[in-house]
Point group: C2
Chain length 460, copies 2
């Protein structure tokens, strides 16, 4: 069992969380310049936890740690470090340490690392790789970023269909350089096209004399090397795949993707959607203040522009507000409710598009449903806010204006919340990226316009 040295992680609420006592001990060793103690502490941790530790300490501490420990760093740790931080980590490492560390990695992890390296670093690293690995990495890099071709590893086990279970087992026993993890053998035809897979559990359960063609699973999916990683992750989750052959344009086997890589992509893509919906780009918790400020700026700038648009709407009714100041007090309520209802709908829509639950087959039903939900909640909240308005300012007509504008805005919120992400998806824009700004612009403008416009008509 991996050593979980100190106390905090015994708290079940913080299982697997990095341990502040361990972090403290590591930083003490760094400060004391005690390389042996540092190595002992870090070796006891899983490489993913070492990477987390590197992310959680400050830039200055990171530099000191890497200077002391850099020669010992292994490829796994480099792989696990957040992409936003890798360039910084590379800077503190001697080239020899990087090339040494990278040589033990599978090709998919090398590809992943190279993506964050500058050109001279990449070149030195490629030269350090064995010939076969270098060719494999170069081939993967020819596929576009975020595709199956980048995600796949070249290390795999394949066999012809006319082998027996015994042949396969003898082959595996004789092979020196097996992939680190593999869960099935890919059966290929003479053109190297996958025609089936045999799970390792079947190989073990069947007699040596059985032919692979008799036990191979023909109901398997291949992944085109150009498929987006998002779709790859979706397929693994949807079809409970553990490993899938990747093929080129001619249907020839070029690699395999395993579920742990697909799981990581699924996690990344969900994170991207959460962040985009909230107007946060590709930032990392270890980013500097200036970097974070700069990354958040464009989203706030868009919001500024949309809120100025809303102000322009309000400005049209300045005379009405001057006559009845209660309107200024109450108007943010209608706009805010619309913004919230719109965000509810658009989030459901963005998520359903990502999970392929919202398709042309049910789009109209979902659109009708969202508009109806907007209308019904509009009616309920019209009643509530109408009564609030009446009690607060003693004007039944003000209550009616509040109620009617609430219905109008929640109805529009439902429509905008579903139609805008669907339209963006249709034209190929990520709906998580842009829907929020559009939807709240609509609900703000309609909210203020309906409320103040009705007030101008009915109260003056």
């Amino acid at each position: 069992m991996t050593e979980m040295t100190l106390t905090e992680n015994d708290d079940p609420d913080h299982a697997y969380e990095i341990n502040t006592l361990t972090v403290g001990a590591v930083l003490d060793a760094v400060e004391a310049g005690d390389a042996d103690q540092l190595t002992a502490l870090l070796d006891a941790q899983h490489s993913a936890d070492v990477a987390d530790l590197l992310e959680q300490i400050s830039g200055k501490e990171r530099a000191a740690l890497l200077t002391l420990w850099g020669d010992e760093i292994d490829g796994e740790v480099l792989s696990e470090v957040d992409e936003g931080l890798r360039a910084e980590v590379f800077e503190h490492l001697p080239d020899t340490a990087i090339t040494e560390a990278v040589r033990e990695l599978e090709t998919d992890d090398v590809v992943d690392l190279v993506e964050d390296m500058d050109a001279p670093q990449t070149e030195r690293l490629m030269q350090a790789l064995e010939d076969a690995d270098r060719v494999a990495v170069e081939q993967s890099l020819q596929y576009p970023d975020e595709t199956a071709g980048r995600l796949m590893q070249r290390e795999l086990v394949m066999a012809p269909a006319d082998w027996t279970v015994g042949d396969a087992i003898d082959h595996l026993r004789g092979e020196q350089d097996l992939p680190e993890n593999f869960y099935n053998v890919v059966i290929v035809n003479p053109f190297l096209q996958p025609i089936g897979t045999v799970a390792l559990s079947s190989l073990l359960a069947e007699a040596r004399s059985v032919s692979l063609s008799a036990i191979m699973d023909e109901d398997f999916r291949t992944i085109p090397a150009t498929q987006t990683q998002e779709d790859v992750a979706y397929a693994f989750n949807q079809y409970h795949m553990v490993s899938a052959p990747v093929t080129d344009d001619e249907g020839r086997l070029v690699g395999v993707i395993t579920i742990d890589d697909a799981m990581e992509v699924l996690d990344e893509e969900a994170e991207e959607d959460i962040m985009l919906l909230a107007g946060v780009g590709d930032e990392s918790l270890s980013g500097s203040i200036m970097e974070t400020t700069r990354l958040r700026f464009p989203w706030l700038a868009v919001n500024l522009a949309t809120s100025i648009l809303a102000s322009v709407v309000i400005a049209q009714f300045a005379a009405t507000i001057e006559a009845i100041v209660a309107l200024a007090v109450l108007m943010p309520i209608v706009a805010s409710m619309g913004g919230n209802a719109g965000t509810q709908t658009l989030t459901v829509a963005v998520r359903a598009l990502a999970t392929k639950d919202l398709t042309p087959a049910n789009a109209w039903r979902v659109i009708r449903r969202e508009i109806a939900v907007g209308f019904f909640n509009g009616c309920v909240f019209a009643l509530i806010i109408g009564v609030v308005g009446l009690l607060w300012y003693g004007s039944p007509m003000l209550g009616v204006v509040l109620g009617l504008s609430m219905i109008a805005n929640l109805l529009v919120a439902g429509m905008a919340g579903i139609l805008i992400p669907l339209a963006l998806d249709k034209v190929g824009v990520d709906p998580a990226l842009a829907s929020g700004a559009f939807v709240t612009t609509v609900t703000d403008m309609i909210g203020f316009f309906a409320f103040l416009g009705l007030a101008a008509m009915m109260l003056l």
Copy 2:
């Protein structure tokens, strides 16, 4: 290869998306009452896709389809159907079909189904199970909902450490009832406590005479049966586990969890966070209008309450607004910018808490960073909005008021955005659930108060 019968899925933008032509053909068969055609169409699809199809058609169509096809339904399809829809699906199925379907499932899937059944259905189903399976299911159900004990399957392969590779292979060849998917053999001591794991690939690669104790991986993690499923999913993703033994209080092996189940949980938990952050509860796209209206209501009600609070703040400055109506026009800008900046910070914080990247080891650094980012973006937008105010209304003082209140509100937004989720997490409340309402309440109230308060002091 699974048949992907018709055209639409050839479009790479819609890979794996359910095919409208297939849906049309299925609904035609249902309408024609053609059970054979329906069975042929559905058998050609993966069970996960059949489940998606059930989710995407209307309630009426679903009832007709299940009436015609119900006897043929298999356990996999039931497992794949969205939890929110299962009770409805069960209603349309004869009990015999359900018990027949469930008998082929692994215990973890049975447990998952039973959670959505009513008591009489559960009882009938339990009676239909074989004795060993029933006991296994009952034991799993004793663990709390959403824990490893519910997620694990009882079907597993274990072996004592003194077996050789040959012993293990002979055992597997002799075993009739192997788990559907397994990736390693769990090595146990005489007390049934796991002491290591042997990957199937090692079993295949080593000679028959090698002892399991010589090749077993002792650096593995066991999962306590009471651990939350969220932490289980985290551990699989963090440590690239493919399968993990689950143990009871005494450390005895009670089951295994495989990565495909962990991946599904990871996906569900990310979805839950996305939804909660947008104020959407546990709803499904196939939910009815009334159900969806009801589920969205409480979140809108909370928003109504907080926006009324903001209105109360504005009401204190009615006289100021009456004197300078420009304030009513501009005040939503400051509040809206605060709300957005606060949402950015809180989303980063909620996600970082979920991925255990935000811990006591770096909390103070992140808090300082968020406050600084709020301040710096506050200064930048203060300048911009100050100029806008000046140009729009020709009043330098109005520009100064706008700018100062912008700085104040973005500073507060950064503080609230990080401190509120941290505080909620500390007291054991899911920060995704409640942070949004708190943060926007703070930024709305401070936004209006700072802007109108400064205006009252500086402009009147």
